[in-house]
Amino acid sequence: MQPFEYRTPKNLKEVQQELKQFGADAKLVAGGTALIIMMKQRLVRPTCLISLSSVRGLAGIAEKNGALRIGGSTTHREVETSSLVRRRLPLLAETYRHVATIRVRNMATVGGGLAHADPNQDPPPTLIALGASVKASSAGGSRMIPVEEFFTDYYETVLKPDEVITEVSVPRLPPNSAGAFLKFLPRTADDYATVSAAAVVTLDRSKKIFSDVRIALGSVGTTPIRAREAEAVLRGQPVKAEALRAAAEKAKQAVDPISDFRGSAAYKREMAGVFVRRALEKALEGFKRVKSAPSRQSKRRGRR
């Protein structure tokens, strides 16, 4: 690694001053699990690292007006083990639990992960399916950015150089909703996904009709991808296995994977369909009285 300045501002104002002084050559660092590797590999060569770890008030999880507010410097492990998150949004705790290993989750932060913007990460599909937003703060104020609109390319986001992720806000699920996140891991348990899929399903009062569905995928494009056409196929439709299969077909068209050591592009596309269907099925398992989902299950069990 090349030499660099190391600054430890105590508040956001000081962070802004450091950013102003060092400009685009500076990098913000939180847990460092992604950035330090990139610096070792000389993919990134900042002349200054501005640590967020001494900035007060950036870590922690609270509930405000029904939404979960997760501070940017909160670690993955804190989200995973938070009793508040487990109670309010078990899907979110479960998703963060899938990231790498406990050792990495102890260091990696929620804001740092999003700013790193690797399309193979686990949290973004779930955050998109949950309708979460990123709060980005700069000297000029702060703005809320839907996670869905946050990523623009590999390791690229809409964040401006002087903006810091101070919070991630996750709204409460509407009534009659359930979600699931599935990560396809054909290699090792701590790997990035070959394909990941998150689905949040809202049913009408009869629990027989999809009133809303949000589906997002990871590892199948240059950014996490929301499968809007797959969602549209389900909205207003009865909860039936055919509908899930039709949505899975649409999801396959929404993705644009590359061939790499985790699988060929064609295989990943196929698996995107499979995992969207399974994520929907798993989400529907959250509604005990739904009829069509269990029938598929028993059929599969019979075949084994």
């Binding site: 690694m1 090349q2 300045e5 699990t33 070792k40 406990i102 050792r103 990495v104 102890n106 701590d190």
Partner: protein, 155 residues
């Protein structure tokens, strides 16, 4: 570019001047002579460099030494107390929890953190916790057994 850091390493206060780009593992091994911690993959995957920062496992190959400023670091050298091995170390010896030994400091430190949180972990809890500590000899069964039986050596 250098920075002065203050930390507590295995209970001892340490104050030293380090280059800002010094990795924590290199600081421990070369500045402080604590060569028990090993470097394996250098990208945070293998777990050989596991140390505890304020009681929590971290990869010392991914942490800068300056990250440790103001914190408490525990390495494998810090597990024995008054010349007596930590229960998990005794258990690794008794139940053969190592073969070539390169991953062992990381395994033992990770296992110590687990036992601090869950004194009698079951096999599933051990597997999830230890997932990031790789053993190229693939001696996993013995490692799991050593951790499961470590409580026998606790006083």
């Amino acid at each position: 570019m250098e920075k002065k850091i203050r930390m507590r390493v295995n209970g001892t206060k340490v104050e030293l001047q380090v280059p800002t780009n010094r990795l924590l593992i290199d600081c421990l091994r070369y500045d402080l002579g604590l060569t028990g911690t090993k470097e394996g993959c250098s990208v945070g995957v293998c777990g050989a460099c596991t140390v505890l920062m304020d009681g929590e496992m971290v990869s010392s190959c991914l942490a800068l030494a300056v990250f440790a400023d103001g914190h408490e670091i525990t390495t494998v050298e810090g597990l024995a107390k008054d010349g007596e091995l930590h229960p998990v170390q005794k258990s690794f010896i008794r139940y053969g929890g190592f073969q070539c030994g390169i991953c062992t400091p990381g395994q033992v430190v990770a296992a110590k953190a687990l036992l601090d949180e869950i004194p009698k972990p079951n096999e599933e809890q051990i597997k999830e916790w230890m997932m990031g500590n790789l053993c190229r000899c693939t001696g996993y069964y013995k490692i799991i057994e050593s951790i499961q039986k470590a409580h026998q050596f606790a006083k």
